[in-house]
C-alpha cells in the first residue's frame, strides 16, 4: 500500500520548528494526541489506543451542549518517525464503523498517509488523503490474502518437490 506524489488529489504540508522525534511523539502517544487531534471546540476522551498496524484508536468527541460523537483510526502501517497510514472514520460507542452523523455523502472512511521528514531543527509533515471506498476495501482484502495464497501454493510445491525427489 503506497501512494506517491502524483497520485494524491489532496495534499497538505506543514513545517514545525521542532525535531522529528518530538513531532512524532505527538502522533504516537495517546496523552499527546488527545490534546490536539479533536476538531475545534471539542475535547477528546480516549477509549482505546493501539498504536500498531491493525490496531484501533477509538475516541469520544465531546462538544459543549451537543451529543457525543465517536471517531476511530484503524492503523495500517507504522514506520517510526517516518510514516503512518490509517483509515479514519466516524464510529459508534463500540468502535464499529459509522456514517458521519451530519452527512450521507461524507466518505465512510478516509485513508490518510502522513510522512515525517527533516533534520534536527525542523520537521516537515505531509498529509495525503483520499476517500477509501468499497472498491478499495475489496482490493485490499485480496492484497492481504495474496501472501497466504502464495504460501499455500508454495507449501504445496515444496511437498511436491519432496515427493518427486524421493522417487
Amino acid at each position: 500500500m503506497s501512494m506517491n506524489d502524483d497520485q494524491s488529489v489532496f495534499t497538505i504540508t506543514r513545517q514545525f520548528a521542532l525535531p522529528r522525534a518530538v513531532v512524532w511523539e505527538a502522533w504516537s502517544e495517546a496523552r499527546q494526541l488527545e490534546q490536539w487531534w479533536g476538531p475545534k471546540g471539542c475535547s477528546i476522551d480516549i477509549r482505546c489506543f493501539e498504536f500498531r498496524p491493525g490496531g484501533f484508536f477509538h475516541y469520544a468527541m465531546n462538544f459543549e451542549g451537543a451529543p457525543t460523537m465517536w471517531g476511530r483510526f484503524n492503523y495500517r502501517e507504522i514506520v517510526a518517525q517516518e510514516r503512518i497510514v490509517w483509515l479514519n472514520s466516524f464510529s459508534n460507542e463500540r468502535c464499529g464503523i459509522a456514517r458521519a452523523p451530519f452527512s450521507e455523502s461524507c466518505p465512510l472512511e478516509i485513508r490518510n498517509f502522513v510522512t515525517f521528514a527533516g533534520h534536527a531543527e525542523h520537521t516537515t509533515v505531509t498529509l495525503r488523503a483520499e476517500p477509501f471506498g468499497e472498491v478499495d476495501a475489496e482490493r485490499e482484502y485480496f492484497e492481504a490474502l495474496r501472501p497466504s495464497l502464495e504460501q499455500g501454493y508454495g507449501g504445496t510445491f515444496d511437498r511436491l518437490d519432496a515427493f518427486l525427489l524421493q522417487g
Binding site: 489532496f10 521542532l18 450521507e104 531543527e121 498529509l127 483520499e130
Partner: protein
Amino acid sequence: MRSDELSRAFAALADPTRRAIVARLAAGEATVSELAEPFDMTQPSISKHLKVLEQAGLISRGRAAQTRPCRLEAARLRDIAQWVDVYRNLWEERFERLDAFLQSTRPPAGKGKKNVHE
C-alpha cells in the same frame, strides 16, 4: 453524491494521464483523437482512460455525432473540490492546534514557526 461515488471519482483522478485529460477538457469539448494527440498515446488506451472517467461521472460523451466528443461533468468536479476544501480547512486547523500544542510543551527556542501551504 454518495460516498462510494466520491471514492470512485477520487480513484479515477489518482492517475496523472486522467488528470491531464480532465484539465484538457476544462478548456472545452474534445474528441478521442484530439485527446490522444498531445498525450502520445493510442486511441484505444485513451479510450480506456475515458471509460474510467465516464464511469466515475467526471465526463460524459456525446451520443449524436460519430466522434462522440467528451465533455467535463462540472458538478462532479465541484463535489470533489468541495470535499478537498472542507478537508483542507480541517487539516489547517488541526496543524494549528498541533503547532500550538508542541510549542506549549517546549521551552521557547526563539524561532518562529514556518508555514508551508500547497
